[in-house]
C-alpha cells in the first residue's frame, strides 16, 4: 500500500506543479531545454512577433542542407540579388549588377555594409562567402560551375562565366548563395550556436534549439530601414492538424504550411486570415517513356486533354492553386506560357486521339488495342494521393485503367525509379529559376529530373541553341519554343500549381506574400495587437 500511496502522492504533486507552473519558468534541471512564455502572456508584447512553421533548418549555417532558405524566410540572411514578389531580379546587398560582355558580370556592393559582428562586407568578404558555399555546399557548386570570382576593388566583384549565361543574375539570387562571414564560419558548418552565426539580415539570431524553436532580435546595424519589431520567436509544429489548431487559437502571428483540407475550419476566424503565398511548385505526372503504353505520343496527348485541372484544384486543394497548362505555366518570367498547351478540359479530343492511335473503347468500358487494355500504374507520394485518385477517376471515364500505388517513403520511390519499376509518377517540382537549367534537367538525356528517358532531337537542338544564345529576345522565344515542344511531345503531364497557404494575424502590417515562400519576415513587418 505504501507503493500505491507514494504513486498517488507523486502523481498529484506532478499535476499540481504542472498546473501551478509560472509562465516562462525555466526548467533548469533539464539540460538543453528552454521554456518560452505561454500564449497570451509575455508574447503579447507588440515588440515580439510569433511564428510557427513546419520545418526548421537542421543547423544555422547557410551552406548546410538549404539552411539559407530558412534564414532568408525569417529575415536573418540576404544575398547579392533577390527575386522580388513580382518575380523580378532586384539588388539586395548589391547596389547594381552590370553585364560587361556575354561572359562577364560586375556587381557593385552597397556602401558601408556590415555583418552582425561588425565586420565589413566588402568584395573580399563576398568572394570568400561564395567560395565557401561552392566548397561546402553540393547545391552551390552547379550555380557557380565554371564561374571565376574576382575582386576588382573593395566594393566591386567580377564574375566570369565559361560560356555566355544570360540568366547568371538568377544564380546570384538563389537562396543557396546567402552571403555570410566565411572568416567566422570556417571550414566546418556552424550548426547550433547562434552566437557564431554572422549574417547581414535585419534580424540576428539569439537562440536556437534544433527542430524546436529559434529566437531572433532586431539588429540596429542593418543597412536598410530599421526593423519595426524587436524580437521574433519561431516554433516548429510539424503536425498539420496541430498547426491548424494553433491558427484557430491565434497563438502565433504567422503560421505556415496550412493544409488545403483545413481551409473551411479557418474561414470564420476573427483574429486570423488565410493568405495564399503563390508558388511555382507545379504538380505533374511524369511518364516512363520506355513503357509501350506511352510509346504513341497521341496516347500521352489524350491523357493530358482528358484532365479536368480545375476539378483537381477544387477537390484536392479546396480551390487553391492554378491550372498548369504547360511546363513553364507558373514561371513569372513567361506569362505567355500559361496560355500554351492544355488550357482546357477536352475529353472529346482525348477520345478522338485514342481512337486514332488504335485504342478503341470495348464493351466493358475499357480501351483496348490488339486485345490488350490501356492500363498503367500511377505512383503517388505524400499529399498527392487524392490527386492520384482523381486522375484515376478522370482517366477511367476515358476508358483508361489506372492503378494508384501510394507510398509515404521517398526511398521506395527512388528505388523504383532506379529499377525502372514504374509507369507514371505524380510529383511536384519547383519550376522557377534559370529556365535553361529547369528545361535541361527535365528534358535533356541524362538530366537529373528526366525520369522517363525523354530524348527528342528537336528539343535537344532547342536546348543547345539556348546554351549558345546571348540575345535576350531570342532566348525568350527559344524558351517558349521549348515549352511548346514539351506540350507537343508530352514527356510529362502538367496538372496545377501547388498552393502554399499561411494563416496570418489580421493585426499584422507589412506582410507581403512571396511566391517562393521567402521573406515571411522583413524589416517593414509590424504588428499592432487589438
Amino acid at each position: 500500500m505504501k507503493i500505491v500511496s507514494w504513486l498517488i502522492k507523486f502523481a498529484l504533486l506532478v499535476g499540481i506543479l504542472g498546473g501551478c507552473q509560472p509562465a516562462g519558468q525555466t526548467l533548469s534541471s533539464l539540460p538543453g531545454i528552454e521554456v518560452t512564455p505561454r500564449p497570451g502572456e509575455a508574447a503579447t508584447s507588440e515588440a515580439e512577433l510569433r511564428l510557427i512553421d513546419q520545418f526548421f533548418p537542421p543547423g544555422l549555417d547557410p551552406v548546410h542542407e538549404y539552411g539559407g532558405w530558412y534564414l532568408l524566410r525569417y529575415g536573418a540572411a540576404e544575398r547579392l540579388l533577390r527575386v522580388s514578389p513580382a518575380g523580378e531580379i532586384v539588388p539586395e546587398l548589391a547596389e547594381s549588377i552590370q553585364a560587361i560582355d556575354p561572359t562577364t558580370w560586375e556587381v557593385k556592393l552597397r556602401p558601408d555594409l556590415r555583418f552582425w559582428s561588425g565586420a565589413v562586407v566588402d568584395a573580399e568578404a563576398v568572394k570568400a562567402s561564395l567560395e565557401r558555399s561552392r566548397r561546402l555546399d553540393p547545391a552551390a557548386a552547379p550555380l557557380l560551375a565554371g564561374v571565376m570570382v574576382e575582386v576588382v576593388d573593395s566594393t566591386t566583384i567580377r564574375f566570369t562565366t565559361e560560356v555566355p549565361n544570360a540568366w547568371f543574375p538568377l544564380n546570384l539570387a538563389d537562396f543557396i548563395l546567402v552571403i555570410h562571414n566565411a572568416a567566422v564560419y570556417g571550414d566546418e558548418p556552424n550548426l547550433t550556436d547562434p552566437a557564431k552565426a554572422d549574417l547581414t539580415g535585419p534580424f540576428r539570431l539569439t537562440a536556437f534549439t534544433p527542430n524546436q524553436e529559434m529566437g531572433l532580435e532586431a539588429w540596429s546595424g542593418y543597412w536598410g530601414s530599421p526593423p519595426r519589431v524587436e524580437r521574433l520567436h519561431l516554433r516548429v509544429i510539424d503536425s498539420p492538424e496541430a498547426r491548424v489548431l494553433a491558427a484557430q487559437s491565434g497563438e502565433a502571428d504567422i503560421i505556415g504550411e496550412i493544409p488545403t483540407t483545413s481551409v473551411a475550419a479557418l474561414s470564420d476566424s476573427e483574429e486570423m486570415k488565410l493568405v495564399e503565398i503563390g508558388n511555382t511548385v507545379t504538380m505533374a505526372v511524369y511518364l516512363n517513356l520506355t513503357r509501350p503504353v506511352f510509346e504513341d505520343v497521341r496516347v500521352r496527348q489524350a491523357l493530358s486533354w482528358a484532365i479536368d485541372r480545375q476539378d483537381l484544384i477544387e477537390v484536392a486543394n479546396s480551390g487553391y492553386g492554378q491550372p498548369a497548362a504547360s511546363f513553364l505555366a507558373a514561371h513569372p518570367f513567361y506569362p505567355e506560357a500559361a496560355e500554351q498547351g492544355y488550357t482546357r478540359y477536352d475529353p472529346d479530343r482525348a477520345a478522338q486521339l485514342l481512337d486514332e492511335a488504335g485504342w478503341r473503347l470495348d464493351t466493358d468500358g475499357t480501351r483496348k488495342k490488339d486485345g490488350q487494355p490501356l492500363e498503367f500504374r500511377l505512383v503517388t507520394y505524400g499529399l498527392e494521393k487524392t490527386t492520384g485518385e482523381l486522375l484515376q477517376n478522370q482517366w477511367g471515364k476515358l476508358g483508361v485503367r489506372v492503378e494508384v500505388q501510394h507510398v509515404d517513403d521517398y526511398g521506395i520511390i527512388q528505388t523504383r525509379l532506379t529499377d525502372g519499376d514504374w509507369d507514371a509518377l505524380a510529383e511536384s517540382w519547383v519550376r522557377f529559376g534559370n529556365p535553361l537549367v529547369r528545361l535541361t534537367s527535365h528534358f535533356q538525356p541524362g538530366g537529373d529530373a528526366n525520369k522517363g528517358g525523354y530524348n527528342d532531337p528537336i528539343m535537344n537542338e532547342i536546348l543547345e541553341e539556348m546554351g549558345r544564345s546571348v540575345d535576350e529576345e531570342e532566348l525568350r522565344q527559344l524558351v517558349l519554343k521549348a515549352n511548346e515542344r514539351v506540350n507537343e511531345t508530352v514527356p510529362l503531364i502538367n496538372l496545377y500549381t501547388v498552393p502554399d497557404l499561411a494563416v496570418i494575424s489580421k493585426d499584422l502590417e507589412g506582410f507581403q506574400p512571396h511566391f517562393l515562400g521567402e521573406y515571411w519576415v522583413t524589416a517593414d513587418l509590424s504588428i499592432q495587437r487589438r
Partner: protein, 315 residues
C-alpha cells in the same frame, strides 16, 4: 546474486550486439540512399552532379563495403562514439542526449499517471466486481483502448488549446505542456495493467489465506493492502516495466500531434532521411533502456516475492 547479474550483463551485451547487427543490415537493405534523399528530393533541377553526390558519399563513408562500415561503427561505439548525424553533422550522442530529457519527462509523467490510475481503479473494480463502479471502469477502459491516440490528442488540443487556450498547441517543453500528451499516453496504456490487476485481485480474494485472515479478525482493508495486493501486483509490475520501456523509446504519434520534441518524432524523421548513424545510435539506446528496465523488473520481483528470492537457480 553476483553471478546472476554477471550472466544478465553478458546476455545484455549479446542482445545489444544482435540488435545493432539486425538494425544495420535492415537499414542497408531498405530502399533509398541518404545522399539522394538529402540532396535530390528537395532540389529538383539543381543539377548536383553524380560526381559531387559520390563525393558526399565518400565524405560520409557510405562508399565503403557494408561489413567495413559496420566494423567501423562498432569500433567507434566501443569508445562511446556513436558517430555523426548525416543530416545535421552533429554527434549522435549529443542529439540523443538533447532529446532524451523531453522524452523522459513525457514518459515519466505518463508512467506515473498510468500506474497510479491502474492501481486505484483496479482496486475499485475488484472490490466492486460486477457492480456499477466495476462496469463503469470497464467501459472507460474499453473507451481508452478504442480511441486512437491521435484522435484523443487532437480532441484535447482542440478543447484546451484552441478553445480554452489554457495551453499552447505545442512546440514548447514545460510541465504545463506535458500534461496533455502525458495524459493521452497514460490513458492509452492504462487498460491492460488495470484489467490484469482486477483479475489478479479477484483471484486472490478466493484464496484460503484470506479466509484464514478474516477468521483471525483482520480488517478487509488490511487483507487487501497487506496480503492480496502485493500478490496481485506482480504481473502488473511486469506490464508497467514493459510499458516504461516502450514510453522511453519515444511515442511517435503523440509526439507529432503535440509537437513534443522527443526521441520518437526525431527518429521517424531520421528513418525517412535514412540517417544511418542516428537510427543505429537510437536503437542501441532503446535496446539498452529496455534491457535495463527488464533487469530492474526482475530484481523488483525478487524483492517483492519471497518465492522468487528463495528459489535456488532463479537468482
Amino acid at each position: 546474486m553476483g553471478s546472476y547479474l554477471l550472466r544478465r550483463l553478458l546476455s545484455a551485451l549479446f542482445s545489444l550486439f544482435l540488435s545493432s547487427l539486425v538494425t544495420f543490415t535492415l537499414l542497408r537493405l531498405a530502399p533509398g540512399d541518404p545522399v539522394d534523399i538529402m540532396y535530390g528530393r528537395f532540389r529538383p533541377g539543381g543539377q548536383i552532379s553524380a560526381e559531387r553526390l559520390n563525393q558526399v558519399r565518400v565524405e560520409l563513408g557510405l562508399d565503403r563495403p557494408w561489413p567495413q562500415q559496420y566494423l567501423a561503427w562498432l569500433s567507434r561505439v566501443s569508445r562511446l562514439d556513436f558517430g555523426t548525424s548525416l543530416r545535421s553533422r552533429e554527434p549522435v550522442a549529443r542529439e540523443l542526449g538533447r532529446l532524451l530529457p523531453a522524452t523522459a519527462m513525457l514518459a515519466g509523467l505518463a508512467f506515473l499517471v498510468q500506474a497510479a490510475l491502474a492501481v486505484i481503479l483496479g482496486i475499485i473494480a475488484a472490490v466492486n466486481a460486477n457492480r456499477w463502479p466495476d462496469q463503469a471502469i470497464r467501459l472507460a477502459a474499453v473507451a481508452c483502448v478504442a480511441m486512437p491516440t491521435f484522435w484523443l490528442g487532437l480532441l484535447l488540443l482542440y478543447l484546451f488549446a484552441a478553445r480554452l487556450r489554457w495551453v499552447a498547441v505545442g512546440g514548447e517543453v514545460s510541465l504545463r505542456q506535458v500534461i496533455l500528451p502525458g495524459l493521452v499516453l497514460a490513458l492509452f496504456l492504462l487498460p491492460q495493467p488495470l484489467r490484469v490487476l482486477r483479475a489478479g485481485l479477484l483471484a486472490e480474494f478466493s484464496r484460503l489465506y484470506l479466509v484464514f485472515g478474516r477468521a483471525k479478525g483482520l480488517s478487509e482493508w488490511r487483507l487487501l493492502v497487506r496480503h492480496a495486493l502485493p500478490n496481485a501486483l506482480l504481473p502488473v509490475i511486469t506490464l508497467l516495466g514493459m510499458n516504461l520501456g516502450w514510453l522511453l523509446g519515444g511515442s511517435v504519434i503523440v509526439e507529432v500531434i503535440f509537437s513534443w520534441p522527443g526521441l520518437g518524432k526525431y527518429i521517424v524523421e531520421s528513418i525517412h532521411l535514412r540517417d544511418y548513424p542516428v537510427i543505429q545510435g537510437y536503437m542501441l539506446l532503446a535496446t539498452t533502456l529496455v534491457i535495463s528496465i527488464n533487469l530492474l523488473v526482475d530484481l523488483a520481483y525478487a524483492v517483492l516475492d519471497p518465492r522468487v528470492r528463495l528459489s535456488p537457480g532463479k537468482i
